[in-house]
Protein backbone atom coordinates (compact mmCIF):
# COMPACT_ATOMS: atom_id res chain seq x y z
CA UNK A 1 0.00 0.00 0.00
CA UNK A 2 1.27 3.41 -0.90
CA UNK A 3 2.18 5.62 2.01
CA UNK A 4 1.69 9.33 2.17
CA UNK A 5 4.24 11.64 0.64
CA UNK A 6 6.65 13.55 2.81
CA UNK A 7 4.73 16.75 2.14
CA UNK A 8 1.45 15.18 3.21
CA UNK A 9 3.05 13.77 6.34
CA UNK A 10 4.38 17.22 7.16
CA UNK A 11 0.89 18.71 6.80
CA UNK A 12 -0.50 16.03 9.10
CA UNK A 13 2.21 16.45 11.68
CA UNK A 14 1.91 20.22 11.79
CA UNK A 15 -1.85 20.34 11.55
CA UNK A 16 -2.86 17.82 14.16
CA UNK A 17 -1.29 19.80 16.96
CA UNK A 18 -4.07 22.32 16.57
CA UNK A 19 -6.73 19.64 16.91
CA UNK A 20 -5.92 19.09 20.56
CA UNK A 21 -8.19 20.31 23.30
CA UNK A 22 -6.89 23.52 24.83
CA UNK A 23 -5.37 23.29 28.26
CA UNK A 24 -7.99 23.30 30.96
CA UNK A 25 -10.90 22.48 28.67
CA UNK A 26 -11.54 19.15 30.34
CA UNK A 27 -11.77 20.69 33.79
CA UNK A 28 -13.75 23.66 32.57
CA UNK A 29 -16.37 21.53 30.88
CA UNK A 30 -16.54 18.87 33.56
CA UNK A 31 -19.44 20.27 35.58
CA UNK A 32 -21.65 20.92 32.59
CA UNK A 33 -20.87 17.57 30.98
CA UNK A 34 -21.59 15.61 34.14
CA UNK A 35 -24.78 17.55 34.69
CA UNK A 36 -25.93 17.03 31.12
CA UNK A 37 -25.07 13.35 31.36
CA UNK A 38 -26.98 13.01 34.61
CA UNK A 39 -23.96 11.64 36.39
CA UNK A 40 -22.76 12.57 39.84
CA UNK A 41 -19.46 14.43 39.82
CA UNK A 42 -16.22 12.53 40.18
CA UNK A 43 -14.22 12.25 43.35
CA UNK A 44 -12.08 15.12 44.49
CA UNK A 45 -9.06 13.63 42.77
CA UNK A 46 -9.91 15.71 39.75
CA UNK A 47 -9.56 19.38 40.53
CA UNK A 48 -12.38 21.54 39.38
CA UNK A 49 -11.76 24.66 37.43
CA UNK A 50 -11.14 27.66 39.67
CA UNK A 51 -13.20 29.81 37.37
CA UNK A 52 -16.90 30.20 38.11
CA UNK A 53 -18.87 27.26 36.79
CA UNK A 54 -21.52 28.40 34.34
CA UNK A 55 -25.13 27.54 34.95
CA UNK A 56 -25.52 23.92 33.92
CA UNK A 57 -27.34 23.39 30.71
CA UNK A 58 -30.01 21.28 32.39
CA UNK A 59 -30.72 24.14 34.76
CA UNK A 60 -30.98 26.55 31.86
CA UNK A 61 -33.39 24.20 30.16
CA UNK A 62 -35.37 24.02 33.34
CA UNK A 63 -35.68 27.79 33.46
CA UNK A 64 -36.77 27.89 29.84
CA UNK A 65 -39.17 25.03 30.48
CA UNK A 66 -40.64 26.83 33.47
CA UNK A 67 -41.22 29.92 31.35
CA UNK A 68 -42.95 27.80 28.78
CA UNK A 69 -45.10 26.15 31.44
CA UNK A 70 -46.23 29.57 32.54
CA UNK A 71 -47.06 30.48 28.98
CA UNK A 72 -48.76 27.53 27.38
CA UNK A 73 -49.00 24.99 30.14
CA UNK A 74 -46.59 22.48 28.72
CA UNK A 75 -42.99 21.61 29.22
CA UNK A 76 -43.41 20.13 32.68
CA UNK A 77 -42.25 16.87 31.26
CA UNK A 78 -39.16 18.34 29.65
CA UNK A 79 -37.15 17.28 32.66
CA UNK A 80 -38.24 14.37 34.74
CA UNK A 81 -37.35 16.06 38.00
CA UNK A 82 -39.45 19.10 37.28
CA UNK A 83 -41.32 19.73 40.52
CA UNK A 84 -44.67 20.48 38.89
CA UNK A 85 -46.97 17.52 39.53
CA UNK A 86 -48.55 15.80 36.53
CA UNK A 87 -52.05 16.56 37.70
CA UNK A 88 -51.37 20.29 37.59
CA UNK A 89 -50.16 19.98 34.05
CA UNK A 90 -53.29 18.17 33.02
CA UNK A 91 -55.36 20.95 34.52
CA UNK A 92 -53.34 23.45 32.57
CA UNK A 93 -54.36 21.76 29.36
CA UNK A 94 -58.02 22.49 29.94
CA UNK A 95 -57.54 25.78 31.70
CA UNK A 96 -54.94 27.93 30.01
CA UNK A 97 -53.62 30.83 32.03
CA UNK A 98 -55.56 34.04 32.00
CA UNK A 99 -52.60 36.00 30.74
CA UNK A 100 -51.95 35.42 27.11
CA UNK A 101 -48.45 34.04 26.61
CA UNK A 102 -46.06 35.94 24.46
CA UNK A 103 -46.33 34.12 21.15
CA UNK A 104 -42.61 34.18 20.48
CA UNK A 105 -41.77 32.16 23.61
CA UNK A 106 -42.01 28.52 22.67
CA UNK A 107 -39.73 25.53 22.94
CA UNK A 108 -40.18 24.78 19.28
CA UNK A 109 -38.93 26.96 16.48
CA UNK A 110 -42.29 27.81 14.95
CA UNK A 111 -43.18 29.18 11.57
CA UNK A 112 -44.49 32.72 11.50
CA UNK A 113 -47.90 32.62 13.17
CA UNK A 114 -50.91 33.32 11.02
CA UNK A 115 -52.98 36.43 11.58
CA UNK A 116 -54.87 36.08 14.85
CA UNK A 117 -58.54 35.26 14.55
CA UNK A 118 -60.72 35.27 17.68
CA UNK A 119 -61.72 31.75 18.62
CA UNK A 120 -65.25 30.92 19.76
CA UNK A 121 -65.44 30.67 23.52
CA UNK A 122 -66.03 27.14 24.80
CA UNK A 123 -69.63 26.82 25.94
CA UNK A 124 -68.75 24.60 28.87
CA UNK A 125 -66.63 27.18 30.65
CA UNK A 126 -68.11 30.60 29.97
CA UNK A 127 -66.74 32.26 33.09
CA UNK A 128 -63.22 31.22 32.31
CA UNK A 129 -63.64 32.34 28.75
CA UNK A 130 -64.58 35.79 29.91
CA UNK A 131 -61.28 36.13 31.68
CA UNK A 132 -59.22 34.96 28.79
CA UNK A 133 -57.37 37.13 26.41
CA UNK A 134 -58.48 36.70 22.81
CA UNK A 135 -57.16 33.40 21.57
CA UNK A 136 -56.16 32.92 17.97
CA UNK A 137 -57.75 29.98 16.25
CA UNK A 138 -54.50 28.01 15.95
CA UNK A 139 -54.64 27.77 19.74
CA UNK A 140 -57.63 25.48 19.42
CA UNK A 141 -55.48 23.07 17.48
CA UNK A 142 -52.68 23.57 19.94
CA UNK A 143 -55.03 22.83 22.81
CA UNK A 144 -56.01 19.59 21.13
CA UNK A 145 -52.36 18.77 20.73
CA UNK A 146 -51.73 19.56 24.38
CA UNK A 147 -54.63 17.43 25.48
CA UNK A 148 -53.36 14.41 23.59
CA UNK A 149 -49.74 14.77 24.60
CA UNK A 150 -50.67 15.41 28.22
CA UNK A 151 -52.96 12.41 28.21
CA UNK A 152 -50.10 10.31 26.91
CA UNK A 153 -47.77 11.65 29.58
CA UNK A 154 -50.46 11.03 32.16
CA UNK A 155 -50.79 7.42 31.08
CA UNK A 156 -47.06 7.05 31.39
CA UNK A 157 -47.05 8.57 34.87
CA UNK A 158 -49.83 6.17 35.77
CA UNK A 159 -47.58 3.28 34.77
CA UNK A 160 -49.21 2.43 31.49
CA UNK A 161 -46.63 2.91 28.73
CA UNK A 162 -48.71 0.98 26.20
CA UNK A 163 -51.56 3.42 26.61
CA UNK A 164 -49.08 6.28 26.33
CA UNK A 165 -47.73 4.90 23.07
CA UNK A 166 -51.24 4.49 21.72
CA UNK A 167 -52.08 8.09 22.53
CA UNK A 168 -48.89 9.30 20.91
CA UNK A 169 -49.76 7.28 17.83
CA UNK A 170 -53.13 9.00 17.79
CA UNK A 171 -51.40 12.35 18.15
CA UNK A 172 -49.12 11.63 15.22
CA UNK A 173 -52.01 10.57 13.02
CA UNK A 174 -53.89 13.77 13.77
CA UNK A 175 -50.97 16.17 13.85
CA UNK A 176 -48.41 15.04 11.36
CA UNK A 177 -46.61 18.36 11.67
CA UNK A 178 -47.86 19.41 15.08
CA UNK A 179 -46.35 22.15 17.14
CA UNK A 180 -45.81 19.72 19.98
CA UNK A 181 -44.26 16.99 17.87
CA UNK A 182 -40.97 17.16 19.81
CA UNK A 183 -42.82 16.82 23.12
CA UNK A 184 -44.78 13.90 21.71
CA UNK A 185 -41.56 12.28 20.60
CA UNK A 186 -40.12 12.73 24.09
CA UNK A 187 -43.14 10.96 25.56
CA UNK A 188 -42.67 8.18 23.08
CA UNK A 189 -39.02 7.78 24.08
CA UNK A 190 -39.92 7.63 27.75
CA UNK A 191 -42.78 5.22 27.09
CA UNK A 192 -40.55 2.92 25.08
CA UNK A 193 -38.03 2.97 27.91
CA UNK A 194 -40.75 2.26 30.44
CA UNK A 195 -41.93 -0.64 28.30
CA UNK A 196 -38.42 -2.06 28.26
CA UNK A 197 -38.00 -1.42 24.54
CA UNK A 198 -34.58 0.16 24.93
CA UNK A 199 -33.42 -0.45 21.35
CA UNK A 200 -36.59 1.12 19.99
CA UNK A 201 -36.07 4.05 22.34
CA UNK A 202 -32.52 4.47 21.08
CA UNK A 203 -33.74 4.51 17.49
CA UNK A 204 -36.31 7.10 18.47
CA UNK A 205 -33.57 9.18 20.08
CA UNK A 206 -31.65 9.13 16.82
CA UNK A 207 -34.71 10.25 14.90
CA UNK A 208 -35.37 12.97 17.46
CA UNK A 209 -31.89 14.42 17.24
CA UNK A 210 -31.89 14.27 13.47
CA UNK A 211 -35.27 15.94 13.22
CA UNK A 212 -34.86 18.57 15.93
CA UNK A 213 -31.14 19.14 16.40
CA UNK A 214 -31.75 22.45 18.14
CA UNK A 215 -34.63 21.40 20.36
CA UNK A 216 -34.32 22.32 24.04
CA UNK A 217 -35.23 18.69 24.71
CA UNK A 218 -32.31 17.47 22.69
CA UNK A 219 -29.95 16.61 25.52
CA UNK A 220 -32.74 15.10 27.51
CA UNK A 221 -33.49 12.95 24.48
CA UNK A 222 -29.87 11.95 24.15
CA UNK A 223 -29.98 10.57 27.66
CA UNK A 224 -32.67 8.21 26.47
CA UNK A 225 -33.38 5.34 28.79
CA UNK A 226 -30.58 6.36 31.15
CA UNK A 227 -32.77 9.28 32.14
CA UNK A 228 -35.69 6.93 32.54
CA UNK A 229 -33.81 4.86 35.08
CA UNK A 230 -32.92 2.05 32.69
CA UNK A 231 -29.27 2.92 32.67
CA UNK A 232 -26.70 3.22 35.40
CA UNK A 233 -25.22 6.51 36.34
CA UNK A 234 -21.72 6.13 37.50
Amino acid sequence: MSELSTAACAVLEAGRKGLAAPAGAREQMQAQVFTAAGVAGPAASTPASPSPVPLPLAAKLFVVGALVVGGVGIGWWSLRDTPAPPRAARVAVTAPPAVAPPPQVTPIAPPAPPAPVPAPAPAARPTRAKNRAPVPSPAAGLADELRLVSAARGALVDGNPRAALAKIATYERRFAHGELAPEAAMVRIDALCAAGRVADADAEVDRFVDRWPNSPHRRRALLGCAAAGKGTNR
Partner: protein
Protein backbone atom coordinates in the same frame (compact mmCIF):
# COMPACT_ATOMS: atom_id res chain seq x y z
CA UNK B 1 -1.53 9.40 18.80
CA UNK B 2 -3.50 7.55 21.38
CA UNK B 3 -5.75 8.56 24.15
CA UNK B 4 -3.67 8.19 27.20
CA UNK B 5 -1.07 10.59 28.33
CA UNK B 6 0.21 8.88 31.43
CA UNK B 7 1.18 5.27 31.67
CA UNK B 8 -1.32 4.37 34.30
CA UNK B 9 -3.36 1.25 34.71
CA UNK B 10 -6.49 3.21 33.96
CA UNK B 11 -5.08 4.51 30.69
CA UNK B 12 -4.07 1.02 29.65
CA UNK B 13 -7.49 -0.26 30.52
CA UNK B 14 -9.17 2.35 28.35
CA UNK B 15 -6.93 1.73 25.38
CA UNK B 16 -7.47 -2.02 25.33
CA UNK B 17 -10.47 -4.30 25.59
CA UNK B 18 -11.12 -5.76 29.03
CA UNK B 19 -9.05 -8.85 29.44
CA UNK B 20 -11.78 -10.85 31.07
CA UNK B 21 -15.48 -10.94 30.43
CA UNK B 22 -16.25 -10.36 34.07
CA UNK B 23 -14.10 -7.25 34.24
CA UNK B 24 -16.28 -4.24 34.84
CA UNK B 25 -16.14 -1.45 32.29
CA UNK B 26 -14.54 1.76 33.45
CA UNK B 27 -16.69 4.29 35.23
CA UNK B 28 -18.07 7.34 33.47
CA UNK B 29 -15.68 9.57 35.38
CA UNK B 30 -12.76 7.43 34.28
CA UNK B 31 -13.84 7.53 30.65
CA UNK B 32 -14.29 11.28 30.86
CA UNK B 33 -10.91 11.91 32.40
CA UNK B 34 -9.01 9.68 30.03
CA UNK B 35 -11.14 10.07 26.95
CA UNK B 36 -11.79 13.79 26.87
CA UNK B 37 -8.76 14.77 24.82
CA UNK B 38 -9.27 11.87 22.46
CA UNK B 39 -12.90 12.74 21.90
CA UNK B 40 -12.14 16.41 21.36
CA UNK B 41 -9.38 15.69 18.85
CA UNK B 42 -11.45 13.10 17.02
CA UNK B 43 -14.42 15.43 16.69
CA UNK B 44 -12.25 18.21 15.34
CA UNK B 45 -10.61 15.88 12.85
CA UNK B 46 -14.01 14.60 11.81
CA UNK B 47 -15.06 18.10 10.87
CA UNK B 48 -16.86 19.58 13.86
CA UNK B 49 -16.33 23.30 13.69
CA UNK B 50 -14.63 25.10 16.49
CA UNK B 51 -17.83 26.96 17.34
CA UNK B 52 -19.61 23.67 17.98
CA UNK B 53 -16.87 21.60 19.52
CA UNK B 54 -17.92 21.97 23.14
CA UNK B 55 -21.50 21.04 22.33
CA UNK B 56 -20.29 18.05 20.38
CA UNK B 57 -17.96 16.88 23.15
CA UNK B 58 -20.81 17.18 25.61
CA UNK B 59 -23.10 15.23 23.31
CA UNK B 60 -20.57 12.42 23.08
CA UNK B 61 -20.38 12.08 26.85
CA UNK B 62 -24.14 12.23 27.23
CA UNK B 63 -24.31 9.25 24.91
CA UNK B 64 -21.45 7.62 26.78
CA UNK B 65 -23.39 7.93 30.02
CA UNK B 66 -26.41 6.41 28.37
CA UNK B 67 -24.59 3.51 26.78
CA UNK B 68 -21.77 2.75 29.17
CA UNK B 69 -23.75 0.07 31.00
CA UNK B 70 -24.16 -1.68 27.66
CA UNK B 71 -20.46 -1.54 26.88
CA UNK B 72 -19.49 -5.18 26.79
CA UNK B 73 -15.80 -4.94 26.08
CA UNK B 74 -16.13 -6.17 22.53
CA UNK B 75 -13.81 -3.37 21.54
CA UNK B 76 -11.57 -0.95 23.35
CA UNK B 77 -13.17 2.06 24.96
CA UNK B 78 -11.18 4.20 22.56
CA UNK B 79 -12.71 2.44 19.57
CA UNK B 80 -16.13 2.76 21.12
CA UNK B 81 -15.64 6.46 21.77
CA UNK B 82 -14.60 7.04 18.20
CA UNK B 83 -17.74 5.37 16.91
CA UNK B 84 -19.86 7.63 19.09
CA UNK B 85 -17.84 10.69 18.14
CA UNK B 86 -18.29 9.87 14.49
CA UNK B 87 -22.06 9.79 14.80
CA UNK B 88 -22.12 13.00 16.77
CA UNK B 89 -19.85 14.68 14.23
CA UNK B 90 -22.21 13.61 11.46
CA UNK B 91 -25.13 15.09 13.34
CA UNK B 92 -23.38 18.38 13.89
CA UNK B 93 -22.37 18.62 10.27
CA UNK B 94 -25.91 17.88 9.18
CA UNK B 95 -27.13 20.51 11.58
CA UNK B 96 -24.82 23.06 10.06
CA UNK B 97 -25.92 22.08 6.62
CA UNK B 98 -29.61 22.37 7.42
CA UNK B 99 -29.69 25.35 9.69
CA UNK B 100 -26.89 27.51 8.52
CA UNK B 101 -27.32 27.02 4.82
CA UNK B 102 -23.92 25.52 4.35
CA UNK B 103 -23.20 22.34 2.50
CA UNK B 104 -19.89 22.20 4.26
CA UNK B 105 -17.96 24.38 6.61
CA UNK B 106 -15.64 26.87 5.07
CA UNK B 107 -12.04 26.28 6.00
CA UNK B 108 -11.73 29.66 7.65
CA UNK B 109 -14.66 28.78 9.89
CA UNK B 110 -13.14 25.57 11.06
CA UNK B 111 -10.78 27.32 13.40
CA UNK B 112 -12.39 30.19 15.20
CA UNK B 113 -9.82 32.24 17.01
CA UNK B 114 -12.23 34.94 18.09
CA UNK B 115 -14.27 33.02 20.64
CA UNK B 116 -13.46 33.32 24.32
CA UNK B 117 -13.01 30.41 26.69
CA UNK B 118 -10.91 27.31 26.21
CA UNK B 119 -11.21 27.43 22.45
CA UNK B 120 -9.31 30.66 22.33
CA UNK B 121 -6.36 28.86 23.85
CA UNK B 122 -6.29 26.25 21.11
CA UNK B 123 -3.41 26.10 18.77
CA UNK B 124 -5.21 27.56 15.82
CA UNK B 125 -2.53 27.44 13.28
CA UNK B 126 -2.56 27.76 9.57
CA UNK B 127 -1.39 24.18 9.43
CA UNK B 128 -4.50 23.01 11.24
CA UNK B 129 -6.67 25.06 8.97
CA UNK B 130 -5.00 23.50 5.97
CA UNK B 131 -5.28 20.00 7.38
CA UNK B 132 -8.99 20.43 8.04
CA UNK B 133 -9.64 21.83 4.60
CA UNK B 134 -7.88 18.84 3.06
CA UNK B 135 -9.84 16.42 5.22
CA UNK B 136 -12.99 18.15 4.04
CA UNK B 137 -12.24 16.85 0.58
CA UNK B 138 -12.79 13.29 1.77
CA UNK B 139 -16.22 11.76 2.08
CA UNK B 140 -17.35 10.69 5.50
CA UNK B 141 -16.26 7.06 5.28
CA UNK B 142 -12.81 7.84 3.94
CA UNK B 143 -12.35 10.67 6.37
CA UNK B 144 -13.12 8.51 9.39
CA UNK B 145 -10.67 5.84 8.30
CA UNK B 146 -8.02 8.37 7.38
CA UNK B 147 -8.37 10.09 10.74
CA UNK B 148 -8.02 6.84 12.63
CA UNK B 149 -4.96 5.67 10.72
CA UNK B 150 -3.12 8.85 9.86
CA UNK B 151 -4.01 11.11 12.78
CA UNK B 152 -4.74 8.69 15.60
CA UNK B 153 -2.16 6.29 14.20
CA UNK B 154 -4.20 3.19 14.69
CA UNK B 155 -3.38 0.06 12.80
CA UNK B 156 -5.56 -0.67 9.80
CA UNK B 157 -7.07 -3.76 11.46
CA UNK B 158 -7.95 -1.72 14.54
CA UNK B 159 -9.45 1.02 12.38
CA UNK B 160 -11.44 -1.53 10.41
CA UNK B 161 -12.81 -2.92 13.63
CA UNK B 162 -13.68 0.53 14.90
CA UNK B 163 -15.58 1.32 11.73
CA UNK B 164 -17.16 -2.09 11.39
CA UNK B 165 -15.75 -2.76 7.94
CA UNK B 166 -13.82 -5.66 6.45
CA UNK B 167 -10.07 -5.50 6.47
CA UNK B 168 -9.80 -5.60 2.68
CA UNK B 169 -12.33 -2.80 2.44
CA UNK B 170 -10.32 -0.78 4.91
CA UNK B 171 -7.11 -1.19 2.94
CA UNK B 172 -8.70 -0.21 -0.36
CA UNK B 173 -10.58 2.68 1.22
CA UNK B 174 -7.43 3.94 2.89
CA UNK B 175 -5.56 3.84 -0.39
CA UNK B 176 -8.26 5.96 -2.00
CA UNK B 177 -8.35 8.32 0.94
CA UNK B 178 -4.62 8.86 0.76
CA UNK B 179 -4.81 9.50 -2.97
CA UNK B 180 -7.53 12.09 -2.50
CA UNK B 181 -5.70 13.73 0.35
CA UNK B 182 -2.56 13.98 -1.79
CA UNK B 183 -4.57 15.32 -4.71
CA UNK B 184 -6.21 17.93 -2.52
CA UNK B 185 -2.81 18.96 -1.19
CA UNK B 186 -1.45 19.22 -4.73
CA UNK B 187 -4.36 21.45 -5.72
CA UNK B 188 -3.76 23.60 -2.68
CA UNK B 189 -0.06 23.93 -3.48
CA UNK B 190 -0.87 24.75 -7.08
CA UNK B 191 -3.07 27.64 -5.91
CA UNK B 192 -0.36 28.89 -3.63
CA UNK B 193 2.18 29.18 -6.40
CA UNK B 194 2.84 32.74 -7.48
Amino acid sequence: MGMGASDTAAARRLAAPPAAADEAPPSFAEVYQRGFDYVWRSLRALGVRDARIEDAVQDVFVVVARRLPEFAGRSSIETWLFAIARRIAQRHRRTESRHEGRSEALPEDLVDTSRPGPRAAAETTEATRLLLSLLDQLDDDKRALFVLVEIEQKSVPAAAEALGIKLNTAYSRLRLARQRFEAALARHNQKELP
